[in-house]
Amino acid sequence: MNHPFFKSLQHLLIYAGAWITVTVIHAAVLLFFYDISITFSLIDAILFNTLFALFGLSLWYIVAHSRFNKSPILNGFITHITSVTLLLLIWISLGDLILSFFSENNLQYYKFHSTALPWRIISGIFYYSILILIYYIINYYNDLQERSIRETRLNEIIRTTELDLLKSQINPHFLFNSLNSISSLTITNPAKAQEMIIKLSDFLRYSISQDSSSLVSLKEEIENAKRYLEIEQIRFGNKLQLEFNISEFCFEKLVPAMILQPLFENAVKHGVYESTEEVYIKTNCHSEKGSLKITITNNFDPEAKTKQGTGLGIKNISERLKLMYQQNILLNYEKENNLFTIELAIPQNS
């Protein structure tokens, strides 16, 4: 954690300047209101304020490192009561100890010193509160900045994925091959041709209209993926087999828009396009520890010598989830024998 006052010399000078001002006022009060000699006024002011200034620097770590998720008010209260008590104890006893090395023969000062304890406690609590307040403001401001940086990055990624999405939705291979199938069906099976045109139109409309930062119900996402998959089924017939195992409970839940279709496209590309055997794409969903677990499994031909590597599609989805939910590893995949499995975890606690 970067200490705000050590970030630059300028910040440190501001901190020192503030304490010098406090020291001067402190000394002036002793000099004019308590009639203490200028020497002892200065010694007292410099000693106690320097000590507090040094201890005060360390208070930043209390503010920066204490994130209270559960009952923040109570925990914060306990933390600060403890730390202010400890700080005052150390501050006053260390100050008095050092002070005892100076001569105590100034009667006026000695008189003040013996009554100074409540005065010191009050000023200590006051300084403590001011410092903590400043630290909290700095911390809040840092958080705000960090969040805005994160948001800018998120927007950037969303914009690029939107572009990629557009490109992949209007994946020329898929689109032109589908149009070719329609062209064939207009002759052999006009009713089916019409059905396919409607599916293709609905698929394109959904893909283009979705803002990729928005949330939609899993039901809508699955419906769109089904449109895509059914078009591929018309092209490839029995070679593409589908199985969905999703409960009504899961259907209601919210997921980011256009998060599933690229994964199905990936399964079709590496499974169906490269295989002569039947390819099963199975989709399951269940709820686990406050998040929605969606798994997509497909078999593939292990003999196919193409780069089965995880395409850009999977990487993009993984990145999008990471940025939207601020959590790592929400997408896992594994390749085992002839099965490829992708597992998504979509957090649901918000």
């Binding site: 070719n180 052999t188 092209r235 490269e274 010598k305």
Partner: protein, 249 residues
């Protein structure tokens, strides 16, 4: 004269469309339809059709790989939704190339062209061969190479190849599993392989840089590359410069 044709296409509606369009050509009889590269290649060699309708994106072998591996070279009409500038280059030099979806009129033009070529006694082979080079998408790098070894067809991922060696009219590809010959030029591989991974270190060698163990002095001025199977390959001075750049020597 009856013309024997086959269709190699992995999508059912696309196949049906070809059947339908071919009704206009009663002189063409279809001996079969095949839905992947392997069975298509086998069918061409066994059935020896005069005309083949060949899709490009297919399981097992792509249409282009099928074409490379043919013994018997029929007239070929590609049918695909391939990207466009490659198509233009092809159209200038080949029998024909049908971009999906295509009309019955466009199809008829292609078939008539093919029929004309067939009646002129099969002199279309060199034309098709010259077309292959331009057909491969220029921006994507070669990822695998299909070779014939004996009666078997093998598809070798390029990362499995240790190095390429010039061998007369052929190029010999050395892999851990043995050597394979391909009737191509070194120049062809040099331009189509990923130049960050494969370096022409010598007139006779293109080396996969992943396999380099170390580079040693051969004599005062010349170097040799020692591979991780302890083979040593000579490096020419121009090859050494390329290699130095590639592996930040």
């Amino acid at each position: 004269m009856e013309i024997k044709a086959i269709i190699i296409e992995d999508e059912k509606p696309a196949t049906e469309l070809l059947w339908h369009y071919l009704k206009l050509f009663p002189q063409i009889s279809i001996s079969g339809t095949f839905s992947d590269g392997f069975s298509g290649l086998k069918a061409i060699n066994e059935l020896k059709p005069q005309l083949v309708f060949l899709d490009i994106q297919m399981p097992k072998l792509t249409g282009l790989e099928v074409l490379e591996l043919l013994e018997h070279k029929p007239a070929i009409i590609f049918t695909t939704a391939f990207d466009q500038y490659a198509v233009k280059a092809f159209e200038a030099s080949a029998i024909d190339y049908l971009l999906k979806p295509f009309s019955s009129d466009r199809f008829a033009i292609a078939v008539n062209k093919a029929l004309e070529k067939i009646s002129q006694n099969h002199n279309n082979q060199p034309i098709i061969n010259s077309a292959i080079n331009v057909l491969e998408p220029s921006n994507s790098k070669m990822e695998r190479i299909a070779v014939r070894s004996g009666s078997k067809i093998q598809v070798i991922p390029v990362e499995d190849i240790l190095y390429f060696e010039a061998d007369g009219d052929y190029v010999k590809m050395h892999t851990k599993a043995g050597n394979f010959l391909k009737e191509k030029t070194m120049k062809y591989f040099e331009t189509h392989l990923d130049s960050l991974k494969f370096i022409r270190i010598h007139r006779t060698y293109i080396l996969n840089i992943e396999t380099i163990l170390r580079v040693e002095y051969y004599d005062k001025e010349n170097h040799v590359a020692v591979l991780n199977n302890n083979e040593k390959l000579k490096i020419s001075s121009s090859g050494y410069k390329l290699l130095k750049n590639a592996i930040n020597l």
